[in-house]
């Protein structure tokens, strides 16, 4: 690991008395692809806006490339590529007009890269942005962002609303840039498969609080699933540290746990299960369990069965 490109210190933002981001302290190492995860309203976009100085924090602070986020000088902004949520592009601008507009602000502009990305997304330069499909518009935004060859790329939910093909193209372009230019990327997403494919580190926000900040591998190791089978109705569970979800399916109790240790194993033994089996869990499933509402639930099919 090298120096941190992004560093936050107790970063907090309140909107009308409600916390949007609370006490967020994390760092993003240089050259990493950092996935920023969380459910809707968990505070991902607010964090990105705070990082870029687009809104002022209620307390705490952050630095980008060593500078205070609230006072980023224009020269530094030139080194930070940012793609806001929703792929905003001025609808009346043609792709080449958009290039001319954005290019005028930068001293460094890779026109070849811009046109290569356009070509990749099959965008003709004379097409107005408002006439582009959602995927193409995302491609245009990405081309405009990548053409500056930034040191740091911040993408706010870049794959939102894209079909699988467009998403694939998009990630492909992103990965290309990372490899070619040793760029640090921070991107937020709901799409776990995308994160799994490109990210090497992740941060997870849950209800405005940072709950995880680690490598993908660490995350995968720390979340595990245990299936407990009982002879009869599964009993009520005692308090299990690190329990994310528990699902009752007939005589079976399926637990998803995080940071499981000896204390947890001890607690499970006391329940009196006929068998306890640790089953492999994919990253996507681990994410889903991690981001899902905590607590016990019953299988949907059990409900159906009960009614019939």
């Amino acid at each position: 690991m090298t120096d941190a490109v992004i560093q936050t210190d107790k970063l907090t933002k309140y909107y009308r008395g409600q916390p949007a981001v609370e006490d967020l302290s994390m760092s993003v190492p240089q050259g990493s692809v950092f996935g920023f995860l969380g459910r809707n309203g968990s505070g991902k976009t607010t964090t990105i806006r705070l990082l870029l100085g687009l809104t002022a924090p209620t307390r705490g602070g952050s630095t980008l490339l060593g500078h205070d986020s609230q006072h980023l000088p224009p020269q530094l902004r030139a080194q930070i590529g940012y793609m806001p949520e929703g792929h905003p592009a001025y609808g009346w601008m043609k792709a080449r007009e958009a290039e001319r507009f954005h290019k005028s602000f930068y001293t460094h502009w890779n026109g070849d890269l811009f046109h290569a990305v356009l070509e990749h997304f099959r965008i003709t330069p004379n097409t107005k942005a408002k006439h582009l499909s959602r995927g193409m518009r995302a491609g245009l935004c990405l081309a405009l962002t990548l053409a500056t060859e930034p040191k740091l790329l911040i993408l706010d939910d870049p794959a939102l609303g894209l079909d699988p093909v467009a998403r694939h193209s998009f990630l492909e372009s992103m990965v290309y840039v990372t490899r070619e230019h040793n760029c640090t990327i921070l991107f937020s997403s709901h799409l776990l498969s995308d994160v799994e494919r490109v990210a090497d580190r992740i941060a997870v926000l849950d209800h405005s609080v940072l709950r995880a900040c680690c490598s993908v591998e660490t995350f995968r190791q720390q979340v595990r699933q245990v299936v407990m089978r009982f002879d009869g109705e599964p009993p009520a569970l005692p308090a299990v540290p690190g329990l994310l979800t528990s699902l009752r399916m007939g005589n079976e109790l399926r637990l998803t746990l995080v940071n499981a240790n000896g204390e947890v194993d001890q607690a499970m033994k006391q329940v009196g299960a006929a068998s306890v089996e640790t089953v492999p869990i994919g990253l996507e499933e681990a994410f889903l369990a991690y981001l899902d509402d905590r607590g016990e639930r019953t299988s949907f099919f059990d409900h159906v069965g009960a009614k019939s």
Partner: protein, 664 residues
Amino acid sequence: MRAIIWKELRENVLWALIGMVVVSLAMVYALELESKQGQSLASNRFLMATMFLGPVLAAAIGFLQITFDARQGYWALLVHRPISRSRLFMGKVLAGLALYFAAMLLPFTASAIWSAMPGHIAGPFRWEVALPGLVDILTGVVYYFAGMIVARRAARWYGSRGLVLVTAIGCSGLVVGIPLLIGALIAIALAGALLFLAARGAFIHNGEYTPQPAPAKASLGLVQLVGIMLVGGMLAAFAGSLAVTRDFRYKNYAVLRDGRVVVQQQLNGNLVSIHDRDGTPLPQFDKPPIDTDELEKIKAPFAWLLLAPPEQFTGQYRRPATAMSLHTYRDRAVYWYFTSDTGRVEGYDTVSRRLIGSFGPSGFVTADQQPTDRFEGELANRWGSVIDGLFTMTSGVYRIDSLHRTVKPVFLPKPGEDVLAAAPFNSSQERRSKRTAIVSGETIHVLDHEDKPLMTFTPEYDAQIYSRLYLYLLDEPNGFGLWYEPLWRRDINVFTLPRYLVTYGSDGQRLAAEEIPAFVRDYRGPSIAEGMLGLVFPPGAAVVAASISTFTVQGRAEFSRMYENRASTASLVVSFLLSAVISLVINLRLARRNAMARSRRIMWATLGLLLGPSGVLLMLCMQTWPARLCCDGCGVARLVSRLNCEHCGAACAPPAPNGTEIFD
């Protein structure tokens, strides 16, 4: 910055075009109606377009420029460009103002060119008439910045966001009210500079108040304060007006033919009593209703001579004095104007709208003839220079018969003397009333119905103060009564100075003089409206009002008279003080509650004391109010914006771990 200017022009040109079409239609409509009356760019209808549509368009462009970019992703896209926000703002402003001025000035210039072309306006055209409209268009700049602030400021829509527009409207009122062009330009420059700084601060700091620099905060504060005070003043005046009587009582003096001075009393515009100065009703008018025709028969005919110096009417840019309308109802086919640069009375045909000819001292010449002379000097006064064909210049009095195209000199002053006023007597029923009174230098001349000198006398009065003269025709004694009273001026108290009636015989011999006291208003302490205003703006406003009042003698007299009523003064002072102290306490508590620094506490407390409820509202409008949470250390609510509790100093507790944390 060129790129941002190009983007803004391209994005907002449609709105500017729509605005230009609306403004053009309004101007065409106004010119169509006003050109028949010989009016053009300075007419009220035309100025409606510049005074109302200009600000609406400017505010709309400013608002839309920000609103389109304020959509979340677009705002981030724009402000993340590697260019300072200050330059981004300037780019927007340059483009927005360019569009606004283009939308206003193109139709305005076209209107001016059209008006200047012969045959379009039934009257003379001078470029000075464009000034009021141009000033109105310039006022739009203030609205442009106000529109930007409304769109960008992080405040509640139903709260303080719109206040800046009220301030802009106040600026418009000031511009219209200030007679001098330089004064109007200074008002626009001051308001424009304040709103520019406030808009720039809001733009650069995403509409948030706290991170703004002091000049931007101060500008926004001033702008907001003016808005609050205007709204508060209007509400207070309205609330006060609901509680006061609607009856309008008025009394004035009248001079009868027998030389007596009587008092007429009116209630809501109706004459209700006529009595002598001792209060004894006149026998024939002792019971209402009063027969006004009968009253007119016993009142003395008079000539009204207003000695307003010409300079009193010059320099008012909203009333360009390049041409003085002189037309009378007797000659409907032609409009007559005195133009100061030609020194002649010019006639314009109302159908062809072209010059038909002009009058000079030696007579009338048609438009195709070259005039050889001009009326020297200036118009004696702008209100009464032409009455029944009597045309009064400082160089002489002439009788112009526009129907028969003749000019006859009536009176020429002695060399070195100026004619100050001339007027016919107001009754044409009697032959002897068809006389003319002329004030030339210090002398009053009376001419008979054939304009032959009848009488001359030199009254003794201070013409600097007593500039309003009435010359009455009296039966007993058979002569004249000269009534003189002060004309309103900033440095004299017209309400308390006495009036005088001096009678003269038909030979000009001074017979008697009588001092008539002014009607001192029956002051019964501050009205409810004044009290309400005092509650809205205690003592700061009271101090300002008092200091303004003490600049004038009149103000001093009025103010001191107001405080003669001790009981009312006491209640006024108590209400002022109470309101101020309550406001101070509220501001202090708010400041302490939000753990403000000592200097800011003092500032807000002082503003509460000086501005009263306006100061409290200002604080509520300006400040951001962070949420409060219960402190884990001391249990008291603390601000979420501070790293440490303001009460016990304990650090903010981080969110409680729930056992699912994964950190490496």
